[in-house]
Amino acid sequence: MSILAQQLLLGLLIGGLYGLAAAGLSLVFGVMKVLDVAHGELIMLGGYGAFFAVGLLGLDPFASLALVIPGALLLGVVLYLGLFGFVVRADEETRVKNSLLIGFGLALALHALAVRLWTADERSIVTPYGGAVLTLGELTIPLVRLLSLLLALLLIGGLHLLLARWRWGKAIRATAEDWQAALLTGIDVRRAYLLAFALGTALAGAAGTLVSVGYSVSPSIGLEWTLKALIVVVLAGLGSMLGTFVGGLVLGVAEAASAAAFGGPYREVVGLVIFVVVLVARPRGLFGK
């Protein structure tokens, strides 16, 4: 019993990262109607960013977020101006197709670049408190992963506030709902797209940082994280960042439960089953608007 509880707890902890990974993808897809399949590679870059910030500058891994997030914002601006800004000029159907092509191309390029620069080795950030655990009855909670979950929640909450209160946050939501109507109220929709993409990339960077602290990064983790994020986006639906976070937790726990019930190899299956079931039974997702 306690083994199962322990597994579910670990599932919950990684679920927070699934939620954070999905939030950026959800924001970009919801606002721009662009599917950025290179989102996982952006997470991978964030992980390396944190790894080197810790290794070269001696920063605390969580403090490295203060560098990684602005860096990722900037990368998002560059990627928008250089690539995705051209995609949004097309109509919405064409956008998805074109963004898939560009996204896969970008993913391959970033993957190859990462192997070239940093080799294919797995890396993980080692911290002095990396082995610390909290004990709760029979449960052991790895401190670093608990902190990651809380930070993920904090970042999602921050994003939620930004979208709810900030003038451009409201503009981003308006653009997501009806971009032509947004134009007619005087919103520069292309700037809203730019901001949404930069924020999405920043979230990917933050997620990557937490992944490299609690887990590990290598150039090839991108596809796996894109898939997780995509499953969570489908599960949670568009339009609510907090809903996306909860969707991440659900996926994490469901994976752990399926691994416990059917054995480790079935961990990945449950996500795909959820993906199909949600698409058939409730295409809007659990919290979709």
């Binding site: 503009a171 032509q180 109507a181 134009l183 007619l184 109220t185 005087g186």
Partner: protein
């Protein structure tokens, strides 16, 4: 004032507007009549900057609007209430209105604009915290007009404001338009309810198959036998 000369527009190979010329003076109410598919919505979209015309000019106080992006057209004081309202349904009444005051110029006059909209539509003040999608069609149309007013326009364009709205509310909306116009805002109106439109308007244009086929003072257009037969039904041919 809005001055349109020789405007052509097409969707792909389909010509929608051919050499349309018309004007809306400062503070004037002008109605645009015509059957479905005549190009009325296309003309409004072109003025709002949503559609780039193939030829011709759209001048607003001397400046060519055809080169500007839609949000800049709003900044210049020309705003469109599109057909079907196109509100942000998942947001509250107040959020919708706030988004109307997005441009720099409109933001400076935000408090004033809020007061003006709530004075015009007291219902909206009571419902300001409600989600727009929970409102009736008529109330939504009030939000749509209110959101456009929040942009602090000098020319308010409306595409079918009475579509799908209860008659009592249509009257309220037309009364509001008259009130808005008394404040000096020009109004350019596409409307199926020809009688109501021509009663409100100073002048009118009739658009058929993408061409202006007739124009004049609203009272004269209302007496025009062709207009009466085509838009007011056979019983209305003789006044």
């Amino acid at each position: 004032m809005l001055d349109i000369r020789g405007l052509d527009a097409a969707y792909g190979d389909v010509r929608v507007l051919s050499g349309v010329s018309l004007s809306v003076g400062a503070g004037e109410i002008v109605a645009l009549l015509g059957p479905n598919g005549a190009g009325k919505t296309t003309l409004m979209s072109a003025i709002a900057g949503l559609l780039r015309p193939g030829a011709g000019t759209i001048r607003w106080n001397g400046e060519d609007l055809t080169a500007l992006r839609p949000h800049v057209v709003v900044e210049r004081g020309v705003v469109l209430v599109p057909e079907g309202r196109r509100l942000f349904g998942g947001m509250t009444v107040q959020e919708n209105l706030e988004l109307g005051a997005f441009t720099e110029r409109a933001r400076r006059r935000r408090a004033e604009s809020f007061a003006r909209v709530y004075a015009l539509f007291p219902d909206l003040r009571e419902r300001r915290r409600q989600l727009v999608r929970a409102l009736s069609g008529g109330q939504q149309q009030m939000v749509a007009v209110g959101r456009a007013l929040m942009t602090s326009p000098a020319l308010l364009m409306l595409d079918e404001p009475s579509l799908g709205i209860a008659p009592r509310l249509v009257a309220a909306i037309f009364a509001a338009l008259a009130e808005i116009n008394r404040g000096g805002v020009g109004i350019f109106l596409v409307e199926q309810n020809v009688q109501a439109a021509l009663t409100l308007a100073h002048r009118a244009y009739v658009l058929e198959s993408g061409r202006v086929v007739s124009h004049g003072a609203a009272a004269d257009v209302l007496r025009d036998p062709h207009v009466r037969r085509a838009y007011l039904g056979p019983l209305a041919v003789r006044p």
